[in-house]
């Protein structure tokens, strides 16, 4: 069994209530931070821990905190990004549902470190039950003197609010989230300025993922150095993985970073192998936005080393033969799944969720979806495949926010690794409607495919 830091007490009955959570060592981190540490010391611990943002980009959290501008006379804000809407990712919802006080505790410590007197948790609008749970938890914590004025008699004041989201995936992008929180349309802002300089109400703001904030609790309890001992290289600590797809045991798992992917996928401690005795065809390791990998490239890197569940190892090989950690939305596909259909489904999502501000993403996502739809339903042409690659390249890197990239990557990667499957949909339109391509093909090792021109 590997170490659990976030989900250690998840099975304790009543852990969602303040009293049980407190009895199990909860809110120790608040006491320690507020009573024995200065804000800068908290930031220092987080820096030492090597914690990297769990929302997708993997930017070191301590570094992000130290970039926060601190002008005189201006309030600073901490905003927790709980807008989790990436297809394949459901870890934040799990954490908020079952152990909400962990997030509240993390918010108090992080707000203290940043000098924020008002903090927000921006929860995806569809998660009404979680919003209620968090509001109840906040009320309990306030009642116990952990929120409000003069917390634990230390003179530190903090108000914590829950804000229901605007009901769009794009509201998870940090600047769109800030706009939405201000009561505006959730359009991403043009950066610079970055939120660390001018964010919510034009004040310095830090936006962090739920899991990143929760991870601050064990970091303060055990010390940053202790946290950094877990994991491998620059991927320190534990990470929640939302495992879904054709596996025996879908669910949320806390792993120590650096677990071999083979172990994660096949051991009974985690996914428990592919369901129904099938073989693995492909994996999307980090949520719908990251490149898909065929089984052979997923289990081993192109140099033949075993791939690990870590930021570095998953992205080994760049976009040609690697993928990304992303937000940890692990989706496994067995030999019966159609990659074309899946790619179409993802691009349908991005088409639907583009905010429509910038032309390449607004128009390109719709275009890709339509072409993929045509391919999937047997009306495609061979030239469509290159067209898709070209359109994805015209979107990638040319947009305001990373949603454009997130829409382009899955399409480009699916074609890079499964081009023959796309071609088969064109050459066998009738069959493509009736059965899936190639069955056992991808369970066997393939030579790596170079990037198409």
């Amino acid at each position: 069994m590997s170490r659990k830091l976030l989900l250690e007490h998840i099975n304790v009955p009543g852990i969602d209530t303040f009293d049980v959570y407190r009895q199990n060592g909860g809110y120790r981190a608040v006491e320690k931070a507020l009573k024995t540490l200065t804000p800068d010391e908290v930031v220092e611990e987080v820096k030492k821990s090597g914690l990297r943002g769990r929302g997708g980009a993997g930017f070191p959290t301590g570094m992000k905190w130290s970039f926060l501008a601190k002008p005189e006379g201006k309030p600073r804000y901490l905003v927790c990004n709980a807008d989790e809407s990436e297809p394949g990712t459901f870890k934040d919802r799990y954490l908020m549902t079952y152990i909400p006080h962990l997030l509240i505790e993390g918010m108090i410590v992080a707000s203290f470190a940043l000098g924020a007197k008002t903090s927000y948790i921006y929860v995806r609008g569809e998660m009404m039950p979680q919003i209620r749970i968090l509001e109840k938890a906040i009320a309990e914590a306030k009642n116990a003197g952990f929120l409000g004025k003069n917390i634990l008699g230390t003179g530190y004041d903090l108000e914590l609010y829950v804000q229901p989201g605007g009901g769009a995936y794009i509201c998870g992008e940090e600047t769109a989230l800030i706009e939405s929180l201000e009561g505006k349309r959730g359009n991403p802002r043009i950066k610079p300025p970055f939120p660390a300089i001018s964010g919510l109400y034009n004040c310095p703001t830090v936006v962090n993922n739920v899991e990143s904030i929760a991870a601050v609790v064990p970091i303060i309890n055990d010390g940053g150095e202790e946290y950094a001992k877990i994991g491998i290289g620059r991927s320190t600590g534990t990470k929640l993985i939302s495992a879904s797809g054709n596996i025996n045991k879908p669910g949320v798992y806390e792993i120590e970073l650096g677990v071999p992917v083979e172990e994660f996928l096949y051991s009974d401690e985690y996914c428990g192998g592919i369901a129904n005795g099938k073989r693995l065809k492909a994996v999307v390791p980090g949520g719908s936005s990251v490149p898909i990998l065929p089984a052979n490239l997923f289990l081993k890197t192109v140099t033949g080393e075993a791939r690990l569940m870590s930021y570095e190892s998953l992205s080994e090989g760049g976009f040609v033969t690697g993928s990304m950690m992303g937000s940890g939305g692990f989706i496994a596909f067995d030999e019966d799944q159609c990659i074309v259909r899946n790619t179409w489904n993802f691009s349908r999502f991005y088409h639907h969720e583009s905010c429509g501000q910038c032309s390449p993403c607004r128009e390109g996502t719709g275009w890709m979806e339509k072409v993929l739809h045509r391919l999937e339903y047997g009306h495609g042409k061979l030239s469509d495949i290159d067209l898709l690659v070209d359109v994805s390249k015209k979107i990638e890197g040319n947009t305001i926010c990373p949603l454009g990239d997130a829409a382009a990557w899955p399409v480009a990667a699916a074609i890079r690794h499964f081009r023959d499957e796309f071609e088969w949909h064109v050459t066998h339109p009738q069959e493509a409607m009736e059965r899936n391509y190639g069955l056992a093909h991808y369970a066997d090792p393939l030579p790596p495919v170079g990037e198409p021109a």
Partner: protein
């Protein structure tokens, strides 16, 4: 005054005030190296960054930090740094990306130029001549919308809109309440007013001038004539609400249309009021200043043989090559 900073664009160096954007620095140089801008409008606060036609490559960040920027940047929203080196038409990457953006802007555009009032002074038309492909690769139905009247003088033909947000910023600057904005998202977004409410303001007509395409048009001018058959004349009047400085568009003796005075980048110098624009269409209302200098980017210049010399820097072979190509393209038609 703080010191000026140096920036070079396609090999041409210019000194500008700190805080200037790359686009405005390029406009200070002028000529071919100015990136096209479909959404940025210097008089509208917050505009820009959306259409992505003005993308450029920053090959050197600044004197202090010479690293190039990892991605192409929107020149209209990126400030210059001392010692920055920018590539626009000398970078194949930029030209490729721009071609892509233009294609994206066109896939859902109706291309109904023959019946569009904007034809001839449409920035999208100009842009597609320069960067577009001859053929469309888009084989799906284009999105369409019903026409909407915004008050009795302005018509919104949403099908043609490129969602540059300029009109939204005009409305934002004019009124405190948000009456005119974007509904929906992605390629289903549309410009709309609050339940088709007229934007009730003396300056609302300026939305027509800022619109780079034929989505917002002057109902008092609709279908009267093609702009290139009309003759622009500068005029002014003593107006109690605005500066009263306008361009009158004549056909024979008749004033067909009144607009603000646009500069070479299609931006009006001053916003004009609705009385000047819609109500005063007699020559006797105006004091005529003289014929308008016609920007040669426009087809309005079809009968005005005015050539701007191409900027050639002797030492820069790449730029010379680019200019030659540009010249060949320009003379092909």
């Amino acid at each position: 005054m703080s010191d000026k900073i140096k920036v070079s664009i396609d090999g041409i160096t210019v000194e500008v005030e700190p805080g200037t954007t790359i686009l405005n620095a390029a406009r200070q140089i002028g000529g071919e190296i100015v990136p096209p801008a479909m959404c940025y409008y210097s008089k509208l606060e917050g505009s820009g960054g959306k259409c992505r036609t003005c993308l450029v490559k920053v090959s050197k960040g600044s004197e202090k930090d010479p690293r190039p920027m990892p991605k192409l940047v929107a020149s209209c929203r990126t400030g210059v740094m001392d010692g920055m080196e920018v590539q626009n038409i000398t970078s194949p990457e930029v030209l490729e990306a721009r071609r892509g953006v233009v294609e994206m802007l066109l896939i859902n555009h109706p291309l109904d130029c023959p019946i569009c009032d904007q034809a001839g002074e449409c920035h999208l038309q100009d842009l597609s001549y320069e960067h577009g492909l001859a053929d469309t690769r888009y084989e799906f139905e284009r999105r369409t919308f019903e026409k909407i009247d915004i008050g009795d003088k302005i018509q919104l033909h949403m099908t043609r809109c490129i969602l540059c947000y300029r009109c939204v910023f005009v409305a934002d600057q004019l009124t405190d309440s948000r009456e005119h904005g974007i509904l929906g998202r992605g390629d289903a977004s549309e410009i709309s007013t609050y339940i088709e409410k007229a934007v009730d303001n003396d300056f609302s007509g300026n939305m027509i001038d800022v619109c780079p395409v034929g989505a917002l048009t002057d109902k008092t001018f609709r279908f009267k004539n093609r702009v290139w058959f009309t003759k622009p004349v500068e005029a002014h009047r003593d107006c109690p609400t605005c500066s009263g400085k306008v361009t009158l568009w004549y056909k024979g003796e008749e004033v067909l249309r009144v607009t603000g005075r646009k500069d070479q980048y299609g931006e009006v110098q001053e916003f004009i009021c609705n009385t000047c624009r819609f109500e005063t269409k007699n020559t006797s209302d105006w004091i005529i200043e003289g014929p308008r200098h016609v920007s040669q980017q426009s087809v309005i210049s079809a009968n005005h043989y005015e050539m701007k010399p191409l900027p050639v820097i002797k030492k820069n072979l790449e730029l010379q090559e680019a200019n030659k190509e540009q010249f060949e393209r320009a003379t092909k038609f």
